[in-house]
Structures are given as structure tokens and as C-alpha cells.
């Protein structure tokens, strides 16, 4: 079948909209308004997250069982998303694991550039199911050294500085021979 209609017309036929550049803003070429909302939240975290955070404060990584699915889950949750039953049975996991994936970031949270890159990634925690872990920083290794599959261990904050947060772990460091 041959091409239909007038081939010369490209849709969309016209392209509405007016581009403004960043310099238009600070040279006041356009008017604009400003508003910063006062939005604050205090989430109730529920039993699973709360217990997990208490564990971190004690220097432990806690996982939870789903006996029906035979999973050891970390981070823990009150219910299993696979069978939709409640999870049952807490378990203390080792604070070691392997690097599931990572990135070397030259960006801060507002997308500003930073000189010293951040090493960040997902740690597949030992003792939990495969591909079960959480995101954290890496330290005591260079950006050339880091690789997927590397064994790592948590470096904890001193006990009196821990407050029940994921940041009670400072970072994960390479687990070298003999440790």
C-alpha cells in the first residue's frame, strides 16, 4: 500500500509554546512569582520499620521471615508482598554482604556538582534471600577498586551516636581476607 496523504506535512503541524531561558529570569525579562510551602510530616512508621531502626541502634541488621514463601526479608516489613500474609519471626542477620550494584556520583541531591565523588550502591545482605538488601554508601575503597560482587562489611557509628536511623551505619567497607 502506498503512503497516504500529503507526505510533506509533518505532524504536529505547528509547535506552540514560548521558550524562556534562565537568564530571562534573573534579568527580569519575564515576571514570575515565588512560593515556598510549609509542608511538614511526621510519619508513623509501624511495627516493622520501627523494630528495624531499633535494631540499627543496637548495631544489628534485623531481617524478617515469611514462612509461607520461605523468604528471609530485609529490610523487614509487616506483610509479605508475594503471598499477602503477615510476616513472622525476626532474625538477626550478619552485617556483611556483597555489592549488588553501585554508582560513583559526582552529583549532590540538588544536582549540583561535587568534586569528591560519593560511592553508593545496593548491598545484598548475607543470610537474607538473594537480591535482598538496601542502599548505602561505601568507604575505605577507591572508585577504581569498587566492583559488583565485592564482599563488604558495615562500619557502624559509635554506640552513643546511634539514633535509630539507616545512617547508624556509616558506610560499608571492603571485607578483606582474615576479617
Amino acid at each position: 500500500m502506498e503512503q497516504k496523504k500529503d507526505e510533506k506535512v509533518t505532524y504536529p503541524k505547528y509547535a506552540p509554546g514560548t521558550h524562556v531561558s534562565t537568564s530571562d529570569i534573573y534579568q527580569k525579562n519575564i515576571t514570575y512569582s515565588w512560593w515556598e510551602p510549609e509542608v511538614q510530616y511526621a510519619w508513623s512508621l509501624g511495627p516493622a520499620y520501627s523494630r528495624f531502626l531499633e535494631g540499627l541502634k543496637e548495631g544489628k541488621i534485623l531481617g524478617i521471615h515469611c514462612h509461607k514463601c520461605k523468604r528471609v526479608i530485609v529490610p523487614p516489613r509487616s506483610f509479605c508482598e508475594y503471598c499477602y500474609g503477615p510476616t513472622d519471626g525476626w532474625i538477626e542477620l550478619p552485617d556483611t554482604g556483597i555489592i549488588e550494584t553501585y554508582s560513583v556520583s559526582y552529583l549532590d541531591p540538588d544536582a549540583n556538582r561535587i568534586e569528591e565523588p560519593i560511592l553508593i550502591g545496593v548491598i545484598d545482605i548475607d543470610g537474607a534471600d538473594e537480591h535482598h538488601g538496601f542502599m548505602h554508601y561505601f568507604g575505605e575503597m577507591s572508585k577504581d577498586e569498587i566492583k559488583i560482587g565485592m564482599k563488604v562489611k558495615a562500619v557502624w557509628k559509635p554506640e552513643d551516636e546511634r539514633e535509630g536511623s539507616i545512617t547508624d551505619i556509616k558506610y560499608f567497607k571492603p571485607l578483606r581476607g582474615g576479617e
Partner: protein
């Protein structure tokens, strides 16, 4: 299906980092163009669906309510649907069910995004997509997420960075024929991508689509009334959507299984048994160059790990056997999250109706698939259009 659903009009604004128009003005411009395209008045529209992603970009709580008059919603049944980045294809899916159910004869779908309003950078709003307990205390940047997924994908399959960079080159070149494009570049090379600024390894500046303002619109109508508007309609063949767990650190990121689930759902509805043979071209979601490859595999258009090879061999070029992102995609045209409906679904319509002009796929395509991806690497939305 109760009613077959046809696409009868599309519209789209330019995509830029910042546009002067407000969100509702952008919605108006896109909606008006779609209505002109179909030759339809506001009174002919029964119901309206709005697709727009996080409120935090526009800086308006319940922003669907604020945008509604721009989308011809005043005095009409109007609803907003939302699933993060997946909204660009999900809004038309919702438009489809409004018509397919027999509740509406004509449904207008408008997708809008205004990321330029968010200060200092749209990234700031993205901080709030992270889990407040596990992730936010680490002050993450959104790019990390994709860097980690890209790394996993590259490592598992042993993919070279340059094979991924080819996607950015192809799409930015394809975008040259798109009147709305933000980052079209006829001369870009693989070296340009590989030498661009490192953001979060392995993601570099030219691997990423930019934040943009923009809007797009589509008009759907039922088989009962379609003859009033066109003799040669493009039909919705299938729809699919699927979500994976919130716990993105509890699965292997190398393959998007949720995309495969959504694709199977859409193919089943469209009666597609062998997607590689039966689908003529695709618009997978490409906010990052590796995502196009990842999604081609998720859409079952090739084997796992095969997409970079097809790209290298030129199969995915506009004149190749399986053209991918002939619009120029998000990498070339821009990424106003929900408004990427303009590349992912409007483009299918324009290609299938033979209206894509300079971007027209030469092989006279009859079936196309568009896909978007959203939430925290967990949501897939798929739509098949056919002639």
C-alpha cells in the same frame, strides 16, 4: 471488548527546559491542537482524563484541579490518573477505558508537566520519591537510581558503554525531524556522548534526557461515532500496565520483569503472539539511553542482552527492520514526564496515520507499541496502536 476505540487527534507543545506558559496554558495549547486535528468542539467531548506527574514540580497540591480548565475540564467529568513516569502512557490507557466501557463516546486525554517551576532544580522534588526511612537519610540523587540499574544491566550482560551511547546518538538525530524537539542534534557522535560530563558513573550528561516543560493531548472516540471524524482511523489494539514492589532493593535490576508483564497483557489483548514479527515499530521509554535497550528487552522485542547488539547493527534505526523511537524519544525531544505521551503515543498515531512527515518510517507500519516507565523503577504502561 465492549467498544473498539479509535484515536482521532493529537497535539503537542514544544518541549523546553522552561516555557513561559503556565501549566494550564500548556494544557490548553495541546488540547486545542488535538481538537483542531480531529475537527471537534468542546461540547462534543464527554469526559476528560488528565495525566500529570508529581505535584512538587508545578508546586501545586492537587494540581489536576488547577489544570482542569486548560484541559477543557470546566463543567465536565474530569479525572486525573497518576503513576509517576508511567503516566505518559497510562493517561491514554485511562482514556481508552472511558470509551471502551461505553461510558463516554469521546474522551480527551491531556498530559502536562511543568518541571521548570521547581527551584532550585526538579531534582529537589525527586528527593521525595525515596523511602523516608531507608533512603532519604542518605540524601540520594535521582540519577543514582538509574546509575545503579544501568551498572547492573551492563555488568550482567557485559555490555560496553559505547553500545549504549549509540541509543543517545540515534534518538538525538531522529529528533531533528520533530518540530517540538529540545535536544535534536544532526551531528552528534558516540564520542560526544562518551566524552560528556560524568554525572554518576556510568551515567554521563548525554546519556540523560533533560527536564522539560510541555504538554500533549490525544482524542479517543468509540467505534460508534468514529465515522463522523475520519475514514481511516487508527485503533487502540491493546493496553497493559503492571507494578512491581516498592522495595526496589529486593530484586535483580538487570531485567524489568514488570515491563514484560505489562507487555504480555497488552499483546494478549491485541492478539499479538510473536511481538518481534508482528510489531512494526516501537516507542519504548528512553529517559536514559540504556532504558531504551532495557525496555526493548522488557517489551519482548528481543532477547535479554540482545538490544545493544541490534542497536549496533542498525536494526533500530528509522529505516531498519525494527525502528525504535522514530520520534527522537525523550533523549531527543525532551522529558516533561507525563507529557512524553507526545512521543510515546501521539507519535504512534502520527506514524500509523502516515502523518509523521520528515519522521515517517518508510516501510508503511501497521502496528506500533508505546511504553512508559515510572514510580521507583517499578511501573510499566504499554499501549499498542494499529491501523
Amino acid at each position: 471488548m465492549k467498544k473498539d476505540v479509535a484515536v482521532i487527534g493529537g497535539g503537542m507543545t514544544i518541549f523546553r527546559r522552561r516555557l513561559k506558559e503556565t501549566g494550564k496554558e500548556l494544557s490548553f495549547l495541546a488540547a486545542k491542537m488535538a481538537m483542531e486535528d480531529a475537527g471537534i468542539q468542546k461540547d462534543d467531548i464527554d469526559m476528560i482524563v488528565m495525566g500529570t506527574a508529581p505535584d512538587a514540580f508545578d508546586g501545586i497540591h492537587m494540581k489536576g484541579e488547577n489544570l482542569l480548565d486548560g484541559a477543557a475540564g470546566a463543567g465536565k467529568p474530569y479525572v486525573r490518573v497518576f503513576n509517576g513516569g508511567g503516566t505518559g502512557v497510562f493517561a491514554p490507557i485511562a482514556g481508552w477505558w472511558h470509551v471502551a466501557s461505553g461510558v463516554a463516546d469521546v474522551c480527551l486525554v491531556v498530559a502536562e508537566e511543568k518541571m521548570g517551576s521547581c527551584y532550585p532544580h526538579p531534582q529537589t522534588a525527586f528527593q521525595h520519591i525515596w523511602d523516608p526511612v531507608l533512603d532519604r537519610p542518605l540524601h540520594p540523587n535521582l540519577v543514582w537510581l538509574f546509575a545503579m540499574e544501568m551498572n547492573r544491566y551492563m555488568t550482567v550482560h557485559g555490555i560496553k558503554k559505547e553500545d549504549i551511547a549509540r541509543v543517545a546518538v540515534k534518538n538525538k538525530r531522529n529528533a531533528v525531524g520533530h518540530p517540538c524537539a529540545q535536544l535534536a542534534d544532526p551531528n552528534i557522535t558516540v564520542d560526544d556522548v562518551l566524552n560528556s560530563e560524568m554525572m554518576a558513573w556510568p551515567v554521563q550528561r548525554l546519556d540523560i534526557s533533560p527536564p522539560s516543560d510541555g504538554a500533549a493531548a490525544l482524542l479517543f472516540c468509540s467505534e460508534d461515532v468514529v465515522r463522523q471524524y475520519t475514514d481511516d482511523p487508527v485503533w487502540v489494539g491493546g493496553v497493559g500496565w503492571n507494578i512491581d514492589s516498592t522495595m526496589w532493593t529486593n530484586r535483580d535490576l538487570y531485567f524489568p520483569r514488570y515491563v514484560a508483564h505489562a507487555a504480555k497483557m497488552a499483546y494478549k489483548m491485541a492478539g499479538i503472539v510473536n511481538p518481534r514479527k508482528e510489531i512494526d515499530f516501537a516507542e519504548p521509554y528512553d529517559p536514559f539511553d540504556y532504558k531504551e535497550l532495557h525496555h526493548m528487552e522488557g517489551l519482548l522485542l528481543c532477547d535479554k542482552g540482545e538490544a545493544p547488539i541490534l542497536t549496533r547493527e542498525g536494526v533500530t534505526q528509522r529505516d531498519g527492520d525494527m525502528p525504535i523511537c522514530p520520534s527522537g524519544g525523550l533523549l531527543g525531544v525532551g522529558n516533561p514526564i507525563a507529557a512524553t505521551m507526545g512521543q510515546k503515543v501521539c507519535e504512534l498515531y502520527w506514524q500509523l496515520a502516515g502523518k509523521a512527515g520528515k519522521r515517517q518510517i518508510p516501510t508503511n507500519p501497521r502496528v506500533g507499541v508505546g511504553q512508559a516507565w515510572g514510580d521507583i523503577m517499578q511501573m510499566a504502561t504499554v499501549m499498542v496502536l494499529k491501523r
